[in-house]
């Protein structure tokens, strides 16, 4: 299957300091991909960069293609059609992500006008239908509400309605539930899964919570210090975590059954961008560190079909050794 969106060797630097150090990632049509990692690992930056939403001072290199159309350095008019039209994005803090001085209905109608040419009564009717679809009660009246009159969960539903307005092929959800209560988190996640089933759109779910990703996604990419260190299907990742960082993350999750055990924390902290080790960025915290780890960044190795890890200890599947990173 050809990728809908393909990121190749994506690098981002702020003021000369690298935030992303070579991301390769494919999203297939209709697929749900999770991006996990600690805060600051670059999971949000990856998609902000892909959509050209980073501030001008960010230096972005590499390639981002949507159906083989290059998005990096594309003309603003091209990007404006893609954003919200083919790729929509929702954010962590729904309350401050909506414009406080514009009624929420109008914020949805604006997207409908931009991407589907709808105006007036037609746009309003469609906005109401979208509100119904994302589960906003009393949708017709809510259209005239202001963002501050709604709860965080309701605002995130409005954000999702805006995102759906352009009938996107991919929805990028950047920590969509982090700012919400646990019960609301579950509702929003369920909503996203339902919508994906109904519309067939692909989903990229950015989260620091492996549990959230495991529930909603088919495939997971684990990021560390601006790189993807392991990607696999959800089942494979939980069954056979290969990268020591992934194993560390899983070890830090409390088991649901079996005896209570002490949770294993990963020692140390993420290296600062100005003090990145020359080799594997995780080596200083890694229990399996070898001399060779510090020599060069390990490339991604295919350990099983669809399962790759960027670690020297990962044993490649015989025949197909895939070195994606040069």
């Amino acid at each position: 299957m050809t990728a809908l969106v393909a990121l190749r060797d994506l690098h981002v630097a702020f003021d000369g300091q690298a935030a992303l150090r070579g991301i390769d990632l494919d999203v297939a049509p209709g697929e749900a991909v999770g991006l996990v990692g600690e805060s600051g690992c670059g999971k949000s930056v990856t998609w902000l960069a892909a959509l050209g939403l980073l501030p001008a001072k960010a230096k972005v290199t590499g390639s981002v293609t949507l159906d083989s159309q290059q998005l990096l350095g594309a003309r603003p008019e091209t990007l404006d059609r893609v954003r919200g039209g083919r790729i929509a994005m929702i954010f962590q803090d729904p309350a401050s992500s909506l414009n406080p001085v514009i009624r929420i209905g109008r914020q949805v109608e604006e997207a409908l006008r931009l991407h589907r040419g709808m105006r007036g009564a037609a746009a309003r009717a469609e906005a109401k239908r979208l509100f119904d679809q994302v589960g906003i009660p009393d949708a017709a009246r809510r259209l005239d509400a202001w963002p501050h009159e709604l709860s965080g969960g309701q605002n995130q539903r409005v954000m999702i309605a805006i995102a759906l307005a352009g009938r996107p092929e991919l929805l990028v959800a950047d920590e969509p539930t982090t700012a919400l209560d646990v019960t609301i988190q579950a509702q929003i996640l369920t909503l996203l899964q339902d919508l994906r089933r109904e519309t067939g759109m692909a989903l990229v779910l950015i989260s620091h919570d492996l549990g959230v990703v495991a529930e909603a996604c088919d495939r997971v990419c684990v990021m560390y210090a601006g790189r993807i260190v392991e990607q696999a299907s959800v089942d494979a990742l939980f069954a056979k975590p290969t990268h020591p960082y992934t194993r560390g993350l899983l070890g830090a999750l409390p088991p649901l059954d079996g005896p209570r055990r002490r949770l294993a924390a990963i020692p140390g902290g993420v290296p600062e961008p100005w003090a990145m080790p020359p080799g594997c960025a995780f080596a200083p915290r890694c229990g399996d560190r070898m001399g060779a780890c510090d020599a060069a960044m390990p490339g991604a190795v295919m350990v099983a079909p669809g399962h790759r890890a960027a670690c020297l200890l990962a044993t490649p599947k015989p025949v197909a050794r895939e070195a994606v990173h040069a």
Binding site: R83, A88, N99, P100, V101, I102, L114, W146, H148
Partner: protein, 313 residues
């Protein structure tokens, strides 16, 4: 809404009473008007007669209540200098002052706000630095220095424009520029920082992420939010339309309210000074009230909680 308006009107009234009282007390403390108006070597009987004529021989609190009672009946007293009604004297000068301050306000808004927006949109660029350098220069230079500088260059050296007086529209140009520059600079800086603050907000990123063209992001999403703090500053400028030109009118010998105030203070012409201060307080209070109401229009978050708006005005 009615309650909000009622409480604001009450506050406005209290402010005006305080200004009037303060002016009354300070003017009585700062010298004897009878002595000053009659001259140092006037015979004591004449001074005494003057006092009796103007009620200055009565206890201060009696004077105060008489004065207040008169104000409530719409009587603002007469000038001790030429005996005419103070309000007439002041009203005569208002058109001259507005002839300077209204065009100056237009310059402040027309120059300051676009400059601030442009600087914010080109943050850290050459344009931004140039605008901000001019703005810092513009509001650090005192208006009397700028006024004299302009006179020196355009009146004395180049001879293009007159240095003072009120004979033609050409006489108004230098004072208007002098008044406008400082306010434009303040407004440019304020608009820039309000704009930068707003452009950094997540909802701006949301607008871009849903495909809104940058121009519409700026006009439709950023400006309405940046307008909220900017309105405060513009409100102060509107409030100082009457009294904001005291220094500039003096520098350019412009016969407006400001110069009348300076002369009346020098003469201890109590009724005139008090009348001007009352007028100033009323314009300031009125513009504050309008600003408060505008907050409600611009920011839906403040509509249900007017108390929060009240603190910022």
């Amino acid at each position: 809404m009615i309650r909000f308006l009622g409480s604001r009107l009450l506050r406005a009234a209290i402010t005006i009473v305080m200004v009037v009282t303060f002016a009354f007390v300070v003017l009585r403390l700062s010298g004897d008007p009878a002595q000053i108006i009659m001259g140092a070597d006037a015979p004591p009987e004449a001074v005494e007669a003057f006092r009796a004529a103007w009620g200055l021989d009565q206890p201060v609190w009696v004077q105060y209540f008489n004065y207040f009672g008169a104000i409530l009946q719409g009587d603002l007293g007469r000038s001790m200098r030429d005996g005419r009604d103070a309000i007439v004297l002041v009203a005569e000068r208002i058109p001259a002052t507005l002839a300077l301050t209204l065009p100056a306000l237009a310059i402040k808004i027309g120059l300051g706000i676009p400059a601030g927006i442009t600087a914010a949109l080109h943050r850290n660029s050459f344009i931004d630095r140039a605008v901000m350098m001019l703005a810092v220069a513009g509001f650090t230079i005192p208006s009397f220095v700028l006024g004299l500088l302009l006179v020196l260059v355009f009146a004395v050296q180049l001879g293009w424009l007159p240095s003072g007086g009120q004979d033609s529209w050409r006489h108004a140009i230098l004072p208007i520029i002098t008044l406008g520059v400082g306010g434009a600079a303040v407004l440019a800086r304020f608009t820039r920082s309000a704009m930068l603050e707003v452009l950094g907000q997540p909802y701006i990123r949301t607008a871009s992420a849903k495909g809104v063209p940058w121009r519409s992001v700026v006009w439709g999403h950023a400006l309405p939010n940046a307008a909220i703090p900017t309105v405060t500053i513009v409100g102060f400028m509107v409030g100082s339309l009457i009294a904001g030109a005291v220094v500039v009118e003096s520098v350019f010998s412009w016969p407006g309210v400001g110069r009348l105030l300076v002369v009346a203070v020098g003469n201890r012409d109590l009724a005139v000074v008090q009348c001007i201060l009352l007028l100033v307080a009323m314009t300031m209070v009125t513009s504050n009230l309008i600003v408060d109401l505008l907050y409600g229009v611009l920011d839906p978050r403040l509509r249900n909680q007017p108390r929060r708006a009240a603190g910022t005005a």
